[in-house]
């Protein structure tokens, strides 16, 4: 069964949240989801752009109080 892992990368600067996401995806199974929390403004656009480039799926992006949550599903 697919799992969802949360990464709290708030406080990390670019490209820290993206690199943490990629490291987590390396260890995840196909279909698993990683929810990255980032206070870096660029992450909300960087992470979806990276997913489009390499072929993973963005499940949802949402803005919260001072941070963004981007949920990514490992597709390959």
């Amino acid at each position: 069964m697919a799992e969802r892992q949360k990464i709290d990368a708030r406080g990390a600067f670019c490209p820290g949240p993206l690199m943490e996401l990629i490291a987590a995806l390396k260890l995840a199974e196909i279909g698993d989801e990683v929810d990255v929390w980032s206070s870096d403004k660029g992450s909300a656009s960087d992470i979806p752009a990276w997913c489009a480039k390499v072929g993973h799926s963005v499940v949802e992006t949402s803005e919260h109080d001072g941070y963004w949550s981007v949920v990514v599903r490992k597709a390959k």
Binding site: G11, A12, L18, I22, W50, V54
Partner: protein, 133 residues
């Protein structure tokens, strides 16, 4: 279509320039773009083995901000890019000769792929895009 490799010639020892090179190299490498980095001139000083992040870089406007805030260390960022993507890091053979350094003994462990001459790097770079920092 195969993405063109990115070649980065890193010459500056300034913190913000090495930081930019590390960001560009690591993000490109994890985005399925092969990257090769040629470290030369003052930039090589940041990669001297045994130096702490606080000792590595030679100033620049953002230097203190990088050190006091939670910005990923540039040398460690190169390492992450290499681990998670397709990246090669070369040290300039001329600079090594001038410093009487050995790539395997005097530079950051497990980061460099070896010494390389400028002519070889430039010849390889004809297959992709070259930026100099």
């Amino acid at each position: 279509m195969q993405t063109k490799p990115l070649y980065i010639m890193l010459c500056s020892g300034e913190h913000e320039k090495i930081q930019l090179a590390a960001m560009v190299a690591s993000v490109a490498a994890v985005s399925d773009r092969p990257v090769e980095v040629f470290v030369t001139m003052n930039a090589i000083l940041a990669f001297e083995r045994g130096k702490s992040p606080a000792e590595r870089y030679q100033g620049g406007h953002f230097h203190e901000m990088f050190k006091t805030q939670n910005v990923p260390d540039a040398v460690e960022l190169f390492g992450q890019g290499k681990m998670l993507g397709e990246m090669k890091v070369w040290c300039c053979s001329m600079v090594l000769d001038l410093k009487h350094w050995d790539c395997d003994k005097n530079l950051t462990e497990d980061l460099f792929d070896g010494p390389l001459g400028l002519a070889k790097f430039l010849a390889d770079a004809e297959s992709g895009e070259l930026i100099t920092i």
